[in-house]
């Protein structure tokens, strides 16, 4: 029996093609834009943004909630695959985890920068300082700090621990090809993994245990973001259903991004054998289902908002849904809930371009929903008049574009330098399939 996963290791050790180099150069240029946008905020202050009163939150919170939604749905998906021992996980859970990690990196920029004086973010940590100031644990902003911290640490550990055995494979594959430098680098990261059966046993126990604990953590991280809105007295935000709404409508973004990534990687790295048509079908149908669930959340929002709420809240919702906020609201419904329904058709699921387009647009639709919530949620307040309107500045667009480039760059490098699919799980699965065939 030769190693079935040799092509995966080879893909990571092959020098990059021109397409890859071009993409990296393009994304690196985007990261330069990100650096400039961040520098502008740090040097000049949040005045370079379009934020004002009442729009104290703009792109900063839209971007944060959006990226966290992508990260959540992607790691939720990866964790569920690990727990279900589903065949699909061998192929897509590795880059679903990587996408989650990259999305959290992108998300982490926003809450720090939106503080205004970013260097003082330390004040959210409980530590004895000369000011005698301590964080208030009753505040959702403090919960949010711990939420994003736990999310970053746990997701990175989860991804890295799953990767260790494959790094050991990369070490040995590089050494066999005489690439001593690469073998040393992979070897250090593999932490001396030698494939001991006893080690595997504990590794799998820890991996599945963490997958089980990631689920409640994710739901909570997104809930806390929504609670920051729900605890204000703004009529459009002060709603008990907001946490559920934000968690559920976030699902199409993460699944859409994983779907688009799977379609791209399958072709770019010739992984058709490891991510087969069945896998793509299932992933596409999951995205369509997430769209349906999001549609239910939108319907619930309209039903509760118009039938049960008081006149002030009704006026706020009406401005979002039927007034000046209508393009963003219905754009979100169309892109993140309606468009994914296209994926029920087998014809659409077989077209890579359709999958990439629907996945990306679903994520864009969720961004529009966050805009509708953060910006258009303030169209009507308790006062008669409210304004001026919010309009994002160049520095904010630079931040959005820059974090997108950072996300893409991190994923490009992951796709190149570490095995894009989990090699040990693929081996395991193939050996089981062989055994089943022998029994027949």
């Amino acid at each position: 029996m030769s190693d079935v996963t040799a092509p995966v290791a080879a893909a990571a050790l092959r020098p990059g093609a021109w397409g890859f180099r071009l993409s990296v150069a393009f994304c690196a240029a985007g990261v330069v834009v990100l650096a400039a946008s961040v520098a502008a905020v740090l040097v000049r202050g949040v005045g370079v943004w379009g934020n004002n009163i009442p729009h104290v939150w703009g792109f900063d919170l839209i971007g944060y909630a959006w990226w966290i939604g992508i990260a959540n749905a992607a790691s939720l998906f990866a964790a569920i695959l690990v727990l279900r021992r589903h065949g699909l996980r061998t192929a897509v859970n590795r880059f679903a985890e990587a996408a989650a990690l990259a999305a959290i990196l992108a998300a982490a920029f926003y809450p720090i920068l939106h503080l205004g004086r970013a260097e003082l973010f330390l004040w959210t940590l409980p530590y004895p300082s000369y000011t005698g100031l301590w964080p208030q644990f009753g505040s959702p902003l403090v919960w949010d700090f711990w939420g994003i911290m736990s999310h970053v640490v746990v997701t990175s550990l989860f991804w890295f621990i799953g990767l260790i055995p494959d790094l050991a494979t990369m070490r040995d594959a590089a050494a066999t090809r005489g690439r001593i430098g690469a073998a040393r680098a992979y070897g250090l990261l593999a932490l001396g993994w030698r494939g001991s059966v006893a080690h595997w046993h504990r590794h799998q126990a820890a991996y599945r245990l963490v997958a089980a604990m990631v689920l409640p953590l994710l739901l909570w991280a997104q809930t806390v973001v929504a609670l920051e809105f729900a605890t204000t007295l703004v009529p459009g935000w002060h709603q008990a259903r907001l946490p559920l709404h934000v968690v559920v409508t976030g699902l199409p973004s993460g699944l859409g991004v994983v779907l688009a990534l799977a379609a791209v990687l399958r072709h770019a790295l010739s992984l058709q054998r490891f991510v087969d048509r069945e896998d793509m079908n299932l992933l596409a149908q999951l995205t369509a289902t997430a769209g349906l669930v999001a549609a239910l959340a939108y319907a619930h929002e309209l039903l509760v908002g118009f039938a049960e709420e008081d006149p002030t809240t009704r006026a706020a919702l009406s401005a979002r849904v039927l007034g000046p906020g209508a393009p963003a609201y219905w754009g979100a419904v169309a892109l993140s809930a309606a468009l994914p329904q296209l994926l029920w058709s087998g014809w659409a699921r077989r077209r890579t371009l359709v999958l990439v387009a629907v996945g990306t647009l679903a994520a864009a639709g969720v961004w529009l929903d966050r805009w509708s919530l953060v910006v258009d949620g303030l169209l009507r307040d308790h006062l008669v008049g409210i304004g001026p309107a919010y309009s994002p500045s160049l520095a904010e667009w630079g931040l959005l574009g820059g974090t997108l480039a950072l996300f893409a760059l991190v994923l490009l490098l992951f796709g190149r330098l570490v095995p894009a699919v989990s090699m040990y799980e693929t081996r395991h699965e193939e050996s089981e399939a062989e055994m089943e065939e022998e029994e027949r």
């Binding site: 190693d3 964080p135 208030q136 006893a198 604990m213 409640p216």
Partner: protein, 179 residues
């Protein structure tokens, strides 16, 4: 020049089942110091070796409980003693509002402890291990299965051990140096 004593004898197999059978045979013959290597998890072989993963769970549970106590205690001490803020006469010890951070920090500690504890129980990270001296061992991370009988075991004797391993019909048996 004196040679250090060998680390043990290594047998190489092509199939996972052969390795599991070999582990069972070695355990039945009374071997206690042995290690098996494979490119993917084999729960049956781990069972035959008598390995339990339960300590990983206990470590996670203990760390989670400690993290929860730490977070809740910190929130309580800060809110009641270090920086009390009177918000409309609400009680200082508003413990329900401390629960979100308690919950998050408990999961953070449990996850980190499960993963770091797993590495510690496995004796990782380490820079080197004599098993890597074995011939063809680079395939243990790809498509081959290995069984090592350690020279620490009282049953170990160079000739007899090699003969025992050959009886398990491996692809090859080789002596592994310890340094």
């Amino acid at each position: 020049m004196s040679h250090p004593p060998p680390f043990g004898q290594m047998a190489e197999f092509a199939e996972a089942d052969a390795l599991t059978e070999a582990v069972r045979a070695a355990r039945a013959a009374g071997w206690r110091h042995l290690e098996a290597y494979s490119p993917y998890p084999i729960p049956e072989a781990a069972e035959a070796l008598g390995v339990s993963a339960a300590p990983v769970g206990y470590i996670a549970l203990a760390a989670g409980a400690f993290g929860a106590a730490l977070a809740a205690g910190t929130a309580w001490y800060i809110s009641v003693h270090l920086y009390p803020v009177n918000v409309g006469g609400r009680p200082l010890n508003a413990w329900p509002t401390f629960m979100p951070t308690t919950y998050l920090v408990a999961i953070l500690w449990a996850c980190a402890a499960a993963l770091i504890g797993m590495l510690a129980l496995n004796g990782l990270p380490r820079l080197s291990h004599p098993a890597f001296f074995a011939r063809g061992f680079h395939r243990a991370s790809a498509d081959r299965f290995f069984l090592l009988l350690s020279s620490d075991d009282p049953l170990y004797e160079p000739e007899g051990t090699a003969q025992f391993l050959r009886g398990l019909s491996p692809l090859r048996v080789s002596e592994v140096r310890s340094a």
